[in-house]
Amino acid sequence: MNDLRVVLAVARKDLLHELRSRAATVATLFFSAVTLVMMAFALGREQHVLTAAAPGVLWVALTFAGVIAAAQNFQADLEEGAFEQLLLYPVPRAAIFLGKLLANWLYLTVLGLLLTPVAIMLYGAQAGTGAWYVILAALVLGTLGLATIATFYAGLTANLQAREALLPVLMFPIIVPVLLGAVRTTEAVLGRSELDLAGGWLQMLAGFDLVYFVVCTALFHFVVDE
């Protein structure tokens, strides 16, 4: 059968499940909002400090949200043996991974689109003309890298008892290049007037995304099969 149809069916199912249960939505929105607000208070009133911190705080909030969303995605499947049933269908493991990745990526991108204006307003950052395209590109590529790693490791730890503790421990060292690229790109366009620097960081981000995408898709069957 058409693999694209499988990818879309899995993604649609995961998004519908989240829309109904709102398990990840409640947790990630609450966590992200608290992170942005608390860090804004903690950093004080000096505008240059707030502006410099805004990209980092935004991506830290998105990274933790990515962990929660991906973990919840697999947890919902495991509840009544639905993930085992999913693995019994005659479909490629890679298509299942890509479907779950697509759902997580869309979810994180929407979350990023909601959080970015909030962070800019809260931290008083300035986005120059033309910066919005770069921020959008950083969001799309950054959340793709985050979602790829988070989906892969959430699948790896889904059946483990200590999954909540293991998922971030395993994932965070791997996510550093993506996080660095995303933070630097966002930093280049928020208040620093270094738009020309953003191109290089975006290229690095796209490069790491490609590597992670290929490796995780190719290795996913080792994660879900014995």
């Binding site: 059968m1 149809r5 499988v6 069916a9 899995v10 199912k13 519908l16 499940h17 109904r20 249960s21 919902a76 499947d77 509840e79 009544e80 043996g81 639905a82 085992e84 049933q85 999913l86 693995l87 019994l88 269908y89 005659p90 479909v91 490629p92 099969d225 014995e226």
Partner: protein
Amino acid sequence: MNDVPAIRLSGLTRRMGNQLVLRGVDLEVAAGRLVVLRGGNGAGKTTLLKVLATRLRPTGGSAQLFGHDVLKEAAEVRSRIGLLSVMGGSYPVLSARENLHIAADLSGKDRQGVEGLLDLVGLSSAADKFVRTYSSGMKKRLGLARLMLIDPDLWLLDEPYAALDDAGKRLVDEVVSGARQRGRTLLMASHESDRDALRPDAVLQLDDGRLKLAPEAAA
């Protein structure tokens, strides 16, 4: 006529932790047969079904379904099997109809058959309710509908009568009979091998990981 057996197990073993759950199981089942697997709790029935469903790797020996090795040709095996598991395998915050639509999409079947199947298993009136509101018996009926939708060559049934009322058990009998008439092969782990409507071709006993003919069948 294809002479390749539906199931061929040779010295199949499976270790779970320190325990050897399957100890050299040998079995050959011709296509189109119904074989019932009996055994106490922990005898290894579910483990055997999961090995055949490619969800557990054999520790030793070999298992072939329709000539395909479960380890080396898992994708081909999965295209010919379906498993009714004890867990149910449905998404709790989706409706029965949505669950069957997903099954149709992922198994390459037409969604048009879904309504008829919901009616057949008695879930038409509850088709739009979330599965988490269902009783165990209703979840089992939904699992049966999913298996009928996929209609694989080999049906693996793990305790299909569990949690069902009398009407539900009669439904299982009818579904099994229908599958046999269509030439499907069925391997059923069940304590209810003596049901009049079932009339299996063989009843096997799994004790301590070893397979043998059930006492009443051997008599």
